[in-house]
């Protein structure tokens, strides 16, 4: 087990280094740079800026340096915990991202929790009672949830809430509590705001999860070991939960690592529509304005979180499934 962990850790560091290189390349790909986009936004507002000023700024920000030099400046800083300066905010990137990333993890963690709590029992039920009325209802509900784009669901929810309750849904906190430390009032306020985005984010994922759980479990239910367990007189719930469900969870556990990046990227539009202070809109904005150190830091951190998530799922898999622990030898 230790050597397993050790090999994984080495692979992780190499992967993160590769991610950093690719992340930096990606944010450099679009034509122009932050200053081109800055000039464009000034001009859209009807303002203008001298080309000489732009040239001077470009030199100061080091945007004329070759790619490799810019990359090593950047990665050198990151190793020391300095993610560079956001052009747009003229502030260190680290000041900007932690709060937002924290909100993302909190909100999306809640969404994942809700998703699993709702989807797993339904998925198990749908598999065990295949082609029953409940299975059909779960299937219909699941497919509707899957088919409605998240942002559309968010828009409809906001509109209905406004029409029937006269309130504007949006944000994660009341403005007065935004900056205050966590206390009971803030937690209640957070829950009063967070239910809507959690509902929206969890819906599509739930549907998908129900389908995966149902299909995995159906494969297992007919296998001989289930029959054996039953014939030995195990109670039905125990015969199902103890063995086939555990095996059916396998593909779900192995994708834990991808959950966070998937949720961050799929929630960008929802976050914009519902004005959620999460990492998604910050990433989107920094990509469109080519605020490269900010964008790079977010992509980099998502990469690191993915890699850590994958490691965790590997460990859990190795723990629940002996075949993986000893496989490949």
């Amino acid at each position: 087990m230790l050597s397993f962990l050790f090999r994984r850790l080495i692979a992780m560091v190499l992967t993160i280094w590769a991610v950093s290189f690719v992340a930096f390349a990606i944010i450099q790909l679009p034509p122009g740079d932050y200053l081109t986009s800055y000039m464009a936004s000034l001009s859209a507002a009807g303002d203008r800026i001298n080309p000489e000023t732009i040239a001077a700024l470009r030199e100061r920000y080091g945007l004329d340096d070759p790619y490799v030099i810019q990359y090593f400046k950047w990665i050198g800083g990151i190793v020391q915990g300095d993610f560079g300066e956001s052009f747009e905010w003229k502030a260190p990137v680290t000041d900007l991202i932690w709060g937002r990333l924290g909100n993302s993890i909190l909100l999306e963690g809640l969404a994942i929790l809700v998703m699993w709590l709702v989807a797993l029992p339904i998925g198990i039920y749908a598999a065990v009672r295949k082609y029953s009325l409940g299975d059909y209802l779960a299937t219909i509900g699941g497919f509707i949830g899957l088919a409605i784009p998240n942002f559309l669901f968010a828009l409809v929810l906001m509109y209905l809430w406004y029409v029937y309750f006269g309130q504007t849904l949006g944000g994660l906190f009341s403005p007065d509590l935004e900056g205050s430390p966590w206390n009971l009032e803030r937690i209640l306020d957070f829950l009063a705001h967070a239910w809507a985005p959690v509902l929206v984010l969890a819906t599509a994922g739930t549907a998908q999860l129900i389908r995966v759980m149902r299909a995995n479990l159906l494969d297992e239910l007919t296998k001989p070991y289930v029959v054996t367990a039953r014939s030995k007189g195990l109670p039905e719930w125990r015969a199902i939960l103890k063995y086939p469900v555990r095996v059916a969870l396998n593909p779900l556990v192995s994708t834990i690592g991808w959950l966070l990046p998937t949720l961050v990227s799929s929630s960008v539009v929802v976050s914009v529509v519902m004005n959620l202070p999460t990492a998604g809109p910050l990433l989107l904005k920094s990509l469109t304005t080519q605020d490269m150190y900010l964008a790079g830091a977010i992509i980099m951190l998502l990469g690191i979180l993915t890699v850590i998530g994958t490691l965790i799922s590997d460990l859990i898999l190795a723990w629940i499934d002996p075949r993986i622990r000893y496989g490949g030898r």
Binding site: S43, D47, P51, D95, G170, P175, T289
Partner: protein
């Protein structure tokens, strides 16, 4: 120039403003009352929220906070009441323009509400020498920053010094114009002189525009601590704080003009009606401003302005959320982002439920879309074609503008070329309307006159080298979705006369990146400069980097991008000479005459094809928000609604 009393009189009785005319009639009857208004002899009042602070000694009494001669502002309708919070929204990051339009507009001088005159503001008077190379300004006596310290000529001189520092690049201002270097001389506490190498006829316009705030935005006492010439430790301090150099720290702590960072630093002193109390950081969900107890304006009864206590701006990336907030009556005034053509019906229907009203905004843009063919195209064949006036006339006649107006603008507007708007003193009906009638036969005649007589199998006209005429038009639909709708109709209409048009919907960084390489057939943008004709002449001659249609010519004129700069055609050169004369003249009548000459050449040459007059926009205001004019002009250099004095708006 006007003395103090004269100034107060001209402002009160400005015959060009509607309120002014009204006040003038009253004045004829009640001369004595008027004398009282003109001399600020009233006991000065302050907002109730400041009473306690004065009582416990935190603040000096109001008469000590106000300057000797505060600016007396005639309210739009009537003297208002103190109190209330003005709620609005910032669309995520990069919407500092909204703060520039509400809080920040208070320069040395400002525009009057009719936008036809520059009037005193922080400066109570000024003198200009005959050749417009020397301007002497006199500040009001006793002006104070929001921290209570005096605002003096030294602050102005410091701003000039910092902006002119080659290590601290600041956006294109008159202070850093390489073609016309300037210096500042401090005469005394309230008097200073700007001296220019060459005549500077448009200085007052620049100072009265939204960019005028740069000059009065930097307090020497606070900002000089970050500046090496005043604090030898500045570089070290910046390094200790983790900045890469003093300039980065300065930019963060003491940003100039309208920069977003100004609203992130609570220590920065201001000269505006409201000062920031909840900062605009990267994670803020709202920005809050509260009244500046040292604001230097009073109403006609001597009440210190502003009336409104607080401004609260929701920071939201979501226009949907802002739209719902407005419908729900949670926005007291806004005219940005959500006040679109498409949203008008919902907002109109929601007025009663949301307890708000819609007001009119006359746009400063002339035509909804300007087709800017690249007259400096690198391909000689395309270059010759685009420079052929008959070709452009042919394109213009091929457009069925009424169809576009009906389909895209719900029948609002009329056919219009890039030309001064009907509200402008430069309006020339012939220039605005020439070649706008839809006449495909006439269009074909002109295209044939331009040498496009042959067609290929698909009916597309062929150039003399046998290639079909195909124009790729760059557009940023993310900026204005209507542009794409218009282009799609134009595409069909031009195909009827044998011209192929490709729509190239791109991101705006690419849009800008293509310009210096001249690597595009055509780009489209809206018709800026419909009201601000002299200040924004980009479509009337190759004036600046936004004159995309003649990018190499404007580079030659402005001395930028030497590798592509190209000597302009003779008519454009003549226009440039005329504009140089205009900039050098200090006389408004002479400036107007020269501008008309430039416009006449543009009319004759017809370099650009326009579509339709931009219809009026609208603002959304709560019904209890008073002293807001029913109709405003909407522009950027005249940063609506700031010139309509939001500090005298109030809640009933």
């Amino acid at each position: 120039m006007a003395s103090r009393e004269e100034y107060d009189m001209t402002y009160l009785f400005n015959p060009r403003s509607r309120r002014g005319v009204h006040a003038f009639r009253l004045a004829a009857v009640m001369t004595t009352a008027v004398a009282l208004i003109a001399a600020p002899a009233y006991a000065q009042q302050q907002a109730p929220m400041l009473d306690a602070l004065v009582e416990d000694g935190t603040l000096p009494p109001v008469e000590e906070r106000l300057p000797d001669n505060p600016l007396v502002v005639e309210p739009v309708d009537n003297v208002g009441e103190y109190g209330g919070t003005w709620r609005s929204a910032l669309r995520g990051t990069g919407d500092n323009a909204w703060i520039a339009r509400t809080v920040m507009y208070d320069g040395l001088v400002r525009y009057n509400r009719a936008w036809d005159e520059v009037i005193p503001n922080l400066a109570e008077s000024w003198e200009v020498n005959d050749d417009a190379t020397q301007y002497t300004f006199h500040l009001r006596e006793g002006l104070k920053w929001s921290d209570g310290t005096p605002f003096t000529s030294a602050d102005i001189a410091f701003a000039v010094e910092l902006v002119q520092d080659p290590d601290y690049p600041v956006g294109g201002t008159f202070m850093t114009d390489p073609g016309n270097p300037m210096t500042v001389e401090v005469v005394d506490e309230t008097t200073f002189t700007f001296t220019f190498e060459n005549p500077k006829g448009l200085l007052l316009d620049e100072l009265a525009s939204v960019n005028g705030s740069t000059l009065v935005s930097l307090q020497k006492a606070y900002c000089s601590q970050f500046y090496p010439p005043y604090n030898p430790e500045a570089e070290q301090m910046a390094a200790d704080e983790g900045y890469e150099g003093w300039a980065f720290m300065m930019e963060d702590k003491c940003a100039w003009g309208q920069e977003t960072q100004r609203w992130a630093n609570l220590d920065l002193p201001f000269m505006n009606a409201w000062v920031v109390t909840e900062p605009w950081t990267g994670t803020a969900s709202r920005v809050v401003f509260e009244r500046n107890p040292y604001y230097w304006k009073v109403d006609t009864e001597g009440n210190q302005l502003p009336y409104i206590d607080r401004l609260e701006m929701r920071v939201s990336e979501s226009t949907e959320e802002i739209t719902l907030m407005a419908l729900n009556g949670e926005i007291d005034f806004t005219d940005r982002h959500i006040a679109t053509v498409a949203n008008r019906p919902i907002f109109f229907d929601g007025q009663e439920a949301g307890d708000y009203r819609l007001g009119t905004e006359v746009q400063s843009r002339s035509t909804s879309l300007v087709l800017q063919l690249n007259l400096n195209h690198p391909d000689p064949e395309m270059n010759a074609l685009f420079n052929n006036r008959d070709f452009r006339i042919g394109l213009s006649h091929a457009l069925n503008r009424q169809e576009i107006i009906d389909a895209v603008f719900t029948s609002q507007g009329e056919p219009f070329q890039p030309a001064p708007r009907p509200e402008s003193q430069f309006y020339d009906e012939e220039m605005a309307k020439q070649y706008t009638e839809y006449d495909p036969e006439l269009a074909v005649q002109h295209l044939e006159a331009a040498g496009l007589t042959e067609t290929n199998g698909q009916g597309i006209r062929l150039m003399s080298n046998g290639e079909p005429v195909s124009i790729a038009v760059d557009v940023i639909s993310a900026l204005q979705p209507e542009w794409l709708d218009i282009l799609e109709l134009m595409q069909l209409q031009l195909a009827e006369v044998g011209i192929d048009m490709e729509i190239n919907n791109i991101d705006r960084t690419l849009f800008y990146d293509k310009r210096p390489s001249l690597d595009f057939d055509a780009q489209v943008w809206a018709g800026d400069g419909g009201l601000d004709v002299v200040q924004e002449p980009r479509y009337y001659f190759p004036a600046n980097a936004e004159s995309v249609w003649a990018f190499a010519w404007q580079a030659w004129y402005n001395g930028t991008d030497p590798e592509i700069a190209e000597e302009p055609a003779e008519w454009a050169r003549e226009q440039m000479e005329l504009y140089d004369q205009l900039k050098a003249s200090g006389d408004p009548a002479e400036q107007e005459r020269l501008m008309v000459e430039i416009l006449d050449i543009a009319k004759e040459q017809f370099p650009l094809v326009g579509v339709s007059l931009v219809p009026n926009g609208y603002y959304i205001a709560k019904n209890n928000l008073r002293n807001v004019p029913d109709e405003m002009k909407q522009a950027w250099l005249f940063p609506t609604p700031a010139p309509y004095d939001p500090f005298q708006w109030y809640f009933e």
